[in-house]
Symmetry: C2
Subunit: 324 residues, 2 copies
C-alpha cells in the first residue's frame, strides 16, 4: 500500500532524473474556462509522459541483483517507453510485451530506448499471462503499469509538485483534473495532495465509452468497461480500475468527469495554440474537462494534469485542421 | 549599456512573473546531432516567446507616471505580444506597430492581449520612424525590440537560467545556439554567460538569406540584409544587427550559423515528435543548427534556445507532413 512517505521517498530518488515540469497557463484558456486554469504538462517528461516517473521509482527501488537480471512490463506505449528508458539509464535489461498492432513508431521507439520487444496478439492472447510467464521463465521483475505501490508512489510525485508550484502562485485549494486509466497516477496524486494540499480535490477524467472509474466511483464498487479498444484516447483505455488504486480513488477523489473524443481533440488544438505543447488526445481529456465542462466544476482555480504527448502526426494534424 | 548587474536586477523583477522554462532533451535528438543537446523551450514562456522577459523588464523599470501614460512598440509579432501582455498586467496602455503581413494569429493575439494595433507596410515604410512619431504625438514611452538596455537585460535572464540549469546537469561548458534577429536575446545571453558560465560560448543562428549577423561578425562591421521579408522565419528578420547589440556580439560570440528554411521546418517536426513542444520555424533555427550543422560545432554538449512557438496551424502541419 502506497503511503505519503513512499511518495516522498520516490521524489528523492527521482530528483535530477525525472523532470520537474512547469505549471503553465494562458489568459485565452482562462477566458474559455471561465476560471483560472493551471496546466501541468507531463508531455514534457522524459519519454513524453508521466509514466517515466513510476518507471524510475520502481527501477530505482529494486535491489542491485534483481535490477541486473532485468525487468518486464506490458504496455501499448507510454508505460513501455517509460520502463525501457528508465531501465536503460539504470543499465538494466528490459523486456516489453506489446500488442502486435501497436503503432510501429511506438514499437520502434521502445526498441530504440533499449528494450527487447515481445509482440502478442491483442485479440487471442492475455498480456498479464504472457508477462507473468516470461517473468518466471527468465527471472525478471514484472513492473505492472498501475497496480503496483512503487509505481503509484512515482506518479504521486506529480502531486507533490502541483502542491508546491500552485502554492508559489498563491493557490492552495481547487480541483485537480487527472486523466485516468487504471488509476495509478490519479491515486498517487490524491495521496500526495491529501498530505500536502488537503484543500485540493482530485477529479478523475475519462473519455466517453471508457468511464469505468466514473461509474465505479458513483456505484461504490469496481465497474468494467464493455469495450476495451476503439478510442483515440488509447493511452488510458483500461478495462477497470485497479484492485490497489480503486480503494484510494474511492476514499479521496471527487466525482469523475467524462468528455467526448471531439472535446479531447479540441483541447489538443488549444494546447497547441495557447500553451505551445503537444498533447495526445488521451493526455488532453483533463484540459477538455476544464474548458468544456465547467458546469460540473466548483472551484475558482482548476489544475489540469496534461499526461502525455505521444501522438502521431496524422492525428495531431486532424486536431489542428478541425479545431483551429 | 547593459551590465550583468542590470541582468541580475531584471531577474529579480521577473521572479514570479516570467516562467523559468525547463531544460529539455531527448536521446533521439542526441543521436541525430552526434552530441548532447539541451533545449531551453522559451515557446513555453508567457505569450509563447522569450520576448515577454524583455517586455516585463522594461515595463517594470518604468516610473509610475510614464507607465500610466502608456508604451509603444514595433514588432512583427513576438515582441508585440510580450509588450501587450506585460503592459496589461501592469495596467498600462500599449500601442503596437505591426507589419500588415504579420501572421494573422499574432495580430489577433496582440489585440486580444489588450494592445491597440497600428499596421504598416514592411516593404515601403520605416517602422522606427512610425514608432518614434507616434510616441512623440501621444507621449508614449517607446520600447524598442532589441536596441534597448532594459530589454537586453530581460532577455539576458535566459542566460542566467541556462548557466544554473546546465550546471545542475553537470554541464559548465559548450556552445549556446541562439536564434538571432537584432541581437537582443543573443547579446543578453552572452553577457549573462560571460559572468555566470564563462566557458560557454554563444553562437548566433540565422536563416539563409537573412544572415546579417553572421556576415557582420565575419567582417567585423555591421552588414545589412539585401531583403527584409520573404522568409517563413518571420520572427527574426531584421535588416541589420543593433547599434547597442553588435559591439556585445562582436566581443563575446563565436561565428554565426546559417540554416535553410527546410532545415528549420525539419527541426520543428522533430521538436514535435521528440520534445512535445510547438516551435515556429524562426524559433527552431538553433535546433536545426544543432541537428544538421554539427560539422561547424566544437563542443560535446550544445545548448539550444528554442525561442518561440507562435506558428500558424497550416505552417506547422506542413512541417509535420514533410518531415515525419
Amino acid at each position: 500500500m502506497t503511503s505519503i512517505a513512499m511518495i516522498e521517498a520516490a521524489a528523492q530518488r527521482l530528483k535530477g532524473h525525472a523532470r520537474k515540469t512547469p505549471l503553465l497557463s494562458s489568459p485565452f484558456l482562462d477566458d474559455i474556462a471561465g476560471r483560472r486554469v493551471l496546466v501541468k504538462p507531463e508531455c514534457l517528461q522524459h519519454t513524453g509522459s508521466f509514466k517515466f516517473r513510476g518507471a524510475w521509482s520502481a527501477l530505482s527501488a529494486l535491489d542491485e541483483v534483481a535490477r541486473k537480471k532485468g525487468v518486464i512490463a506490458y504496455s501499448s506505449g507510454n508505460h513501455a517507453q517509460g520502463i525501457a528508458h528508465a531501465a536503460s539509464l539504470h543499465g538494466a535489461p528490459s523486456v516489453i510485451v506489446m500488442p502486435a498492432d501497436a503503432p510501429k513508431l511506438k514499437i520502434d521507439n521502445t526498441r530504440a530506448l533499449g528494450a527487447e520487444v515481445v509482440l502478442y496478439d491483442r485479440a487471442s492472447e492475455d498480456r498479464d499471462a504472457i508477462g507473468q510467464s516470461l517473468a518466471n521463465e527468465r527471472d525478471l521483475t514484472l513492473i505492472k503499469p498501475f497496480d503496483e505501490p512503487l509505481v503509484i508512489a512515482g506518479q504521486g510525485t506529480v502531486g507533490l509538485e502541483i502542491a508546491s508550484q500552485a502554492a508559489e502562485q498563491g493557490v492552495t485549494e481547487g480541483e485537480v483534473l487527472v486523466n485516468c486509466g487504471g488509476g495509478g497516477l490519479t491515486s498517487g496524486i490524491a495521496l500526495a495532495l491529501e498530505s500536502h494540499a488537503p484543500q485540493m480535490q482530485v477529479r478523475p477524467c475519462e473519455p466517453q465509452g471508457f468511464d469505468d472509474v466514473t461509474r465505479s466511483l458513483a456505484s461504490g464498487q469496481i465497474e468494467r468497461n464493455t469495450q476495451t479498444a476503439g478510442s483515440i484516447c488509447d493511452a488510458i483505455l483500461t478495462p477497470e480500475p485497479g484492485q490497489i488504486t480503486f480503494p484510494i480513488l474511492k476514499r479521496l477523489c471527487g466525482p469523475g468527469l467524462v468528455v467526448s473524443e471531439d472535446e479531447a481533440l479540441h483541447a489538443t488544438a488549444l494546447a497547441f495554440s495557447r500553451l505551445k505543447i503537444v498533447l495526445e488526445p488521451g493526455g488532453a481529456i483533463s484540459l477538455a474537462a476544464a474548458l468544456f465542462h465547467g458546469d460540473k466544476l466548483n472551484s475558482e482555480t482548476v489544475m489540469v494534469v496534461a499526461t502525455g504527448g505521444n501522438v502521431d502526426p496524422a492525428m495531431f494534424t486532424e486536431a489542428l485542421q478541425r479545431f483551429n
